[in-house]
């Protein structure tokens, strides 16, 4: 195997997206997402793809719908306030069950906030995509390589389930350089232009692509929406069986468990290694899919064996923490280590929290 190359997260992800068959990007510059927009501006041109600098995130995300209806693998990326503007289209993508990939390079704070890494958009995309309560697959990678792995398969999943796929990156992962293997180009076949939500190349039988599924076996819109959203929900439930992704780290003999995702989780790995040197048996469960959340490994934590759980998260107030808490045996003490607004999780503080749990040593 050739030596891995050092790439910045944003750029490695963009190149991998292109190789996964992405041929459409619309975006609106916002730090720390801008390097993605700049990279794809020249790179998509080289492969006869479409790049559009949109007039706003509203428009950028709306353009994804059109590209998806044309059968093209489409991507947008944003951060902070841009995500607020995109929620309208997220709702439409989920409701129209149109495949597309959206990347949020999370930054600190609400409103304008700041430009550092954060995890505060977790609820906004795992609970529902925009208004209306629908879902998409959501991933929270923690290394540049994992970011690439996820986006490489993102459209395959998006098309398989007819869903938007959402990737929660963050400012530090986007700007960080790490060694990666850039993957080979995927070959897509022409059959994609016959997919049910695609209006074909030259001409076609009449197709009506609605972002609200009014059509169905019943006479009223309400009955049909009820019917269709029930079917959507069956898909979401199936994801809980088939699309759960997580990592277990040093869990075999663990008495204390750190639970975190993305950047907070990888930072916690350093703390775990330091604590292990001190003889404290700490492990980690790291969800990679955030929706569906890996519930089973959390449910399986045994109060007879596990003396404490620490959720490490870059969000204040806590968001992910409550999802974890809901899945954990009530007899296991659980605490949160929180930072926000672009303040990354700190190794020494995580160590301290676990030490306190272990008896204040």
């Amino acid at each position: 195997m050739a030596k891995k190359e050092l790439w910045k997260g944003n750029e490695a992800m963009s190149e991998t997206a292109l190789r996964a068959g992405c041929r459409f990007f619309s975006g609106y510059p916002i730090t720390p997402q801008t390097p993605i927009t700049e990279y794809l501006a020249w790179r998509l041109a080289e492969v006869d793809g479409v790049f559009i600098q949109a007039e706003s995130e509203l428009a950028a995300a709306t353009m994804l719908l059109g590209a998806s209806i044309a059968g093209t693998r489409a991507l947008t990326a944003t951060a902070g306030p841009g995500l607020s503007l995109m929620t309208e289209s997220l709702s439409c993508l989920a409701s129209g069950r149109l495949p597309a990939v959206i990347v949020d390079v999370q930054r600190g704070g609400a409103a304008t906030g700041n430009l550092q890494g954060a995890q505060s958009d977790y609820n906004m995309v795992t609970k529902t995509l925009g208004h209306g309560g629908l879902k998409g697959l959501v991933y929270g990678p923690s290394t540049v390589e994992e970011l690439c792995d996820i986006i490489y398969d993102a459209w395959d999943k998006a098309e398989k389930y007819r869903t938007p796929v959402f990737i929660l990156s963050d400012a530090s992962l986007g700007q960080m350089m790490e060694p990666v293997d850039i993957k080979p180009f995927k070959q897509l076949d022409e059959s994609r232009f016959d997919l049910p939500y695609v209006i074909g190349r030259e001409q076609s039988e009449k197709k009506v692509i609605q972002d609200t599924p009014y059509a169905g076996p019943y006479n009223t819109m309400s009955e049909n929406l009820d019917y269709n959203y029930r079917k959507y929900n069956e898909v979401y439930e199936k994801w809980k069986e088939d699309e759960v992704l997580y990592e277990e780290y040093m869990m075999d003999d663990a008495e204390y468990v750190i639970i975190g995702w993305g950047m907070a989780a990888r930072i916690s790995k350093s703390a775990i290694r330091n604590l292990r040197k001190k003889g404290i048996k700490v492990g980690m469960i790291r969800p990679i899919s955030l929706f569906p959340l890996p519930e089973k490994p959390l449910n399986a934590l045994d109060a007879k064996k596990i003396k404490g759980v620490l959720v490490v998260e870059m969000a204040i107030p806590a968001l992910f923490y409550y999802d974890v808490k809901a899945q954990i045996d009530k007899n296991i003490p659980i605490k949160a280590n929180l930072h926000c607004g672009g303040y990354l999780s700190q190794v020494d503080e995580i160590e301290e929290d676990i030490m306190k749990m272990a008896g204040g040593k």
Binding site: R23, F24, S26, V50, I52, A54, E55, S56, L58, A59, A60, T62, M63, L64, L65, G66, A67, S68, I69, A70, G71, T72, A74, E88, S89, C92, G96, I199, G200, R201, E202, Q203, S204, E205, K206, K207, V208, I209, Q210, D211, T212
Partner: protein, 243 residues
């Protein structure tokens, strides 16, 4: 016997559900006839946003995609860039095009996207029941301007075609009306020209149509012609603004 008039084959057998005197049905009829004349019934894609046209798909035979309120030009941009061989009509209300979707409208026009925008200017929000639109005339009563639109409070109505005509990229910008048979024929010629420019030269065009909404204007459909001539055309003059 010669056939001098028939229902367009590009319309479906379902009759429209629009109010008496509404112009949307007339506009669809024109588009249907043009699509047959240009032999693009299976090719034309109809992009509808939110407004009284939201539920128009059953009335015609064109492939259709829906968009959120105001966003059809952005949605159509994504579609047309990826699918350049399909002719696209973006059919918007005035509220859609010139209020909530102003940004998308102006920027799609500025980029010269290869589609044709038809804006139905009925001076009200039809679908939601007759509130003020960006085109509502000064003094006009709507449910949100119960004493008549006042310029002190709400400013002046927007002439969208003039806004679009200022931009470099649009090839053909015109305002037409659907209130007399003669105007209907002129409107048809304008839409046809816009579509031909799109198909042959990849050009963006904008056709504003003065439409009637007697239900929300609170007038009898028989009074439409007089109302439009007396109130609407003086503020929204007809004719080509560009190309």
């Amino acid at each position: 016997m010669d056939v001098v008039y028939k229902r367009s084959g590009a319309l479906s057998d379902v009759s429209t559900t629009y109010c008496p005197g509404c112009s949307h049905g007339t506009a669809f009829k024109l588009i249907a006839e043009i699509s047959e004349e240009l032999d693009i019934v299976n090719k034309l894609v109809f992009a509808t946003p939110i407004g009284c046209t939201t539920f128009s798909a059953p009335f015609h035979k064109f492939s259709t995609f829906m968009s959120a309120h105001g966003r059809a030009p952005a949605n159509a941009t994504g579609f047309k860039r990826c699918n350049p061989k399909r002719p696209v009509i973006v059919y918007q209300g005035d509220g859609d095009c010139a209020a909530i979707g102003t940004g998308e409208s102006i920027h799609a026009a500025a980029r010269g996207e290869a589609f044709t925008v038809v804006m139905a200017n009925n001076q009200v929000y039809g679908m939601t029941g007759g509130q003020m639109a960006p085109t509502t005339l000064t003094g006009q009563k709507t449910t949100t301007t119960p004493n008549g639109r006042s310029v002190e409070v709400t400013g002046y109505p927007i002439r969208m075609a003039e806004q679009i005509a200022q931009l470099e990229a649009p090839r053909f910008v015109t305002r037409q009306s659907l209130h007399t048979p003669k105007n209907i024929l002129q409107a048809k010629a304008a839409i046809k020209k816009a579509l031909e420019l799109q198909i042959n030269e990849g050009a963006y065009s904008f056709v504003e149509l003065l439409c009637a909404c007697p239900t929300n204007w609170g007038i009898d459909p028989s009074g439409i012609k007089e109302y439009i001539e007396k109130n609407v055309i003086p503020y929204f003059p007809l004719g080509d603004l560009k190309g």
